[in-house]
Amino acid sequence: MIGAYDLKFRGEYNRHAQAWMDSVPCQVIGSLAMLSTEVSVLLLTYLTLEKYICIVYPFRYLTPGRRRTVTILVVIWILGFVIAFLPLVCKGVFRNFYGTNGVCFPLHSEQPETLGAQIYSIVIFLGLNLVAFLIIVLSYGSMFYNIQRTGTQTTKYTNHIKKELTIAKRFFSIVITDSLCWIPIFILKILSLMEVEIPARRCVGALKAVQAEHVAPQVCSTRSSSSTLSRITTHYSVYPRDKDPRWEGVEMERFADEADVVIVGGGPAGLSAAIRLKQLANQHEKELRVCVVEKASQIGAHTLSGACLEPTALSELIPDWKERGAPLNTPVTEDKFSILTEKYRIPVPILPGLPMNNHGNYLVRLGHFVRWLGEQAEELGVELYPGYAASEVLFHEDGSVKGIATNDVGIAKDGSPKDVFERGMELHAKVTLFGEGCHGHLAKQLYKQFNLRGNCEPQTYAIGLKELWVIDEKKWCPGRTEHSVGWPLNRNTYGGSFLYHLNEGEPLVALGFVVGLDYTNPYLSPFREFQRWKHHPSIMSTLEGGNRIAYGARALNEGGFQSIPKLTFPGGMLIGCSPGFMNVPKIKGTHTAMKSGMLAAESAFSKITDENLQSETAGLYIPEYEEAFKKSWIWKELYSVRNIRPSFHNYFGLYGGMVYTGIFYWILRGKEPWTLKHNGLDADQLKPAKDCTPIEYPKPDGKISFDLLSSVALSGTNHEHDQPPHLTLKDDSVPVAQNLAIYDGPEQRFCPAGVYEYVPLETGDGMRLQINAQNCVHCKTCDIKDPSQNINWVVPEGSGGPAYNGM
């Protein structure tokens, strides 16, 4: 029967899955399957026991009479029927037992099993079947042992025993096939009870192997057919290529090259490190090969920040930056800070000494500044490779970092190789610097590999959204800096806005909105809060008559001092926003990122160029960086503001935090002897949707506020469309079963680029997740905020992503 339905639905399981699982034939087939399995298991156990008694105790004549046998058989059949049809009768407890536990359908269902059903299936699968299985195995073991022993000693009862033996052998083959089928199921069940993650592919593979030998194939065959279903995630990081027949015979050898230092990420930190290394090399007249790989198509095209730049680190790195034409065109001339209510603006005085004071800083388009840094680096002889993303960390045999490999190209959406497939390249180095920016995907692996976050708090984050506007020249005041907190966020949601008047040849303003990712209401949409904020009277007056020319978004670190991980490990170092040196109340991290890159370069230089150095590991371990970091002004700066961000975790929220900052920061300068804690992982902060009120956002008017897709278009984002989605899911079924069921699909709202969409199934009942990976602006918010932590952001084909022009 299942075979027939299988033929009917072949190739389009998804469309029918839900309907099928709820249907009567599914229930009937499920119960029949259960009946036949359980009866056969019980019969086998009974027969085995009988043989066992017959062989092991041949003289006792305990062989049951005809009547007893019939009774036992009847009891077994009745028991089988009860077990199989009980779930159908007691719908209240079991609901859709066969539809959800996978007997008649191979997939993990969207409706989880009820507790009763779970206990029931555990009792049956693990209790009854395991016990029966153990009895069978033990009996046969004991039988063969006995036969071996007695066979040599006596011949008197040989004939009798021989007859039993042939029967026993026959049964043994049945039992072997049976156990081959059941062992994987037992193991999987136990593993799933222990909540071990089972890669679906392996599970299916194991069951497929069993299927060929199985005496009662219906159970296994239904489970194995899931491999024909269309997947959301096809990326090789989830489905390894070495077992994929489509990849057989594809050349996977990589070209490798050697450098002294490889830097991942051409941002402020990475480029500062590269520049400092080459400066030192030139100063000491040493040869030093420094390579920078960057996933953006050109340096600065993925950079997004406010940005109000504090030039401290820059002046240390390139003292003559003015003469070299650094694009720092707008010194801050006016500093405004206010609390917004829906209609009003309450100005807050910025006292000298408060971290929000911006005197001496510059308003910049950070992407342009980074591009300029890139030019300086190239001039010094740094090799820059934009358009090539580091996708893998390579390790020496001793476990130290050997370098990185860049991404492969030419893989089709379904995960198969295209004709133009090209393998990435290996870049080996004495030491590798990871400056991937906030929540880098390689850093994420390194944290685990070297347990770098063992002694710090989890990183906390925020998402920043930004637009560039050309406004009416009359309203333009170059050098004016405005910040606000309050409306439209409630007092317990951390966040605020910025509005900078830039002096870049045309009446340009950069404005943006930052929302702490520890927010609790899954209905909150950072994008729409931003759009709504622009309608505040004090903001709208500036924008009216203007033209929006750019849009983008990026996650940023807010953990500060408490969340700094270990920065060094054999073969590598973490720099910049990857470990996270953002000064939250200042809302600045560029100067600390640059300084960290410089410190890493300085610490590494003497070791790299020391020809007599005896290193314990193949990749250099440079703990000096961490020591230098703790003596630097970054450490002091981050220490003094460490309590400001966590002080907002109080009943009064924003207001409590501001009072705390006023008292402790302004008066004590962060010298208070205690350190406040963060709330833990941002992903754990969401409340179930049923406990929250949906937020009604006003419709965009197309003049001041805009819809999501027209915004994303302004970011210039593009990816080669025929490639596996780089937003990978560890388990394709989790989004609908958890994120949608419990949190009402928050990824649809926190993603600032419309990547995640729940769309109705073609059958009309139920939903499925659609990932529009081409839209991704590489902000990493989904990887951070996904409540089930099921999304893993990996790099797409190099040069994909946004094409920001000075964001």
Binding site: F255, D257, V293, S297, Q298, A301, G367, H368, R371, Y385, Y388, T406, V409, G410, D419, V420, E422, G424, M425, V470, E506, I549, A713, L714, G716, T717, N718, A803, N805, G806
Partner: protein, 264 residues
């Protein structure tokens, strides 16, 4: 120097490929406030997709040992060297950067570029010029045709298949309503259409190797070409924004609305 005829028979032909640096196709174009052109500063640029196809085809001919050398040519300011570098990473042997900057670059059109190509073809003794059928920025679709005219060479435009047979070139052309197969004699000009091939990636090892390949810098004046333009740009405007529609409930409403709008 061997006689021209003999060079071709020994498959030692030289191919010139034009590569144009254009604003990336995924970028949303913004018109300059003074309406004299579009904003290019800081905007993501890449090689014109049709030029990529042209480079791929030339490199394929070289891999089949049908030609000896592939030379990538680009006209423009310093940044076009990045585009030439990409062509070199795809397999071109050397590059020629024809330096045109400032005002001349802003007004550089198909006629000026084809004059440059014609001059270079003579100077380099090229046997084949492969160009993209058009650039995605100005969409002119003229350079290939003009170059063939200036050189008085046969042309195979909109090529979707190119086969080199001794000194003859079989070109399958994409024309309205179908395909046309022609046979032309070398030297010739070919322009690449979309379906000619799938360009390969410029991989990182090849980019590194390309850094060692030579790019020669020449000025139009060195080639005896005058790049002054005879065209004047009056103004550049954004396309009109699409007006949002209205939903109507009934046919009656529709008729009413159409009458209101004066359409019926």
């Amino acid at each position: 120097m061997l006689p021209l005829r003999f060079r071709r028979v020994t498959m030692s032909a030289r191919v010139l490929v034009g590569v144009k640096r254009v604003i990336d196709y995924a970028v949303k174009i913004r018109v300059k406030p003074d309406r004299t052109g579009v904003v290019t500063d800081g905007v993501k640029h890449s090689m014109n997709p049709f030029c990529e196809i042209a480079v791929e085809e030339a490199v394929k001919l070289k891999e089949k040992k049908l030609v000896k050398e592939v030379v990538a040519v680009s006209c423009g300011p310093q940044q076009v060297q990045e585009t030439i570098r990409t062509a070199l990473a795809m397999g071109a042997d050397r590059g020629i950067h024809v330096e045109v900057s400032g005002k001349d670059y802003e007004t550089l059109g198909p006629l000026q570029v084809s004059k440059i190509f014609a001059a270079l073809a003579k100077k380099e003794q090229a046997d084949l010029i492969i160009l993209g059928k058009q650039a995605i920025d100005d969409d002119c679709n003229q350079t290939g045709q003009m170059t063939a005219a200036l050189l008085d060479w046969p042309q195979g435009t909109f090529a979707s298949e190119v086969t080199l047979e001794a000194d003859k070139l079989k070109v399958v052309r994409e024309i309205d309503g179908g395909l046309e197969t022609i046979k032309i004699k070398l030297p010739a000009v070919v322009t690449a259409d979309l379906r000619l091939n799938t360009p390969r990636y410029a991989t990182l090892p090849n980019i590194m190797k390309a850094k060692k390949k030579k790019i020669v810098n020449v000025k139009p004046a060195d080639l005896g070409v005058d790049v002054s333009s005879r065209l004047e740009v009056l103004k550049v405007d954004e396309p009109p924004q699409r007006q949002s529609g209205v939903k109507v409930e009934t046919v009656h409403d529709l008729v009413e609305k159409l009458k209101e709008a004066g359409r019926i």
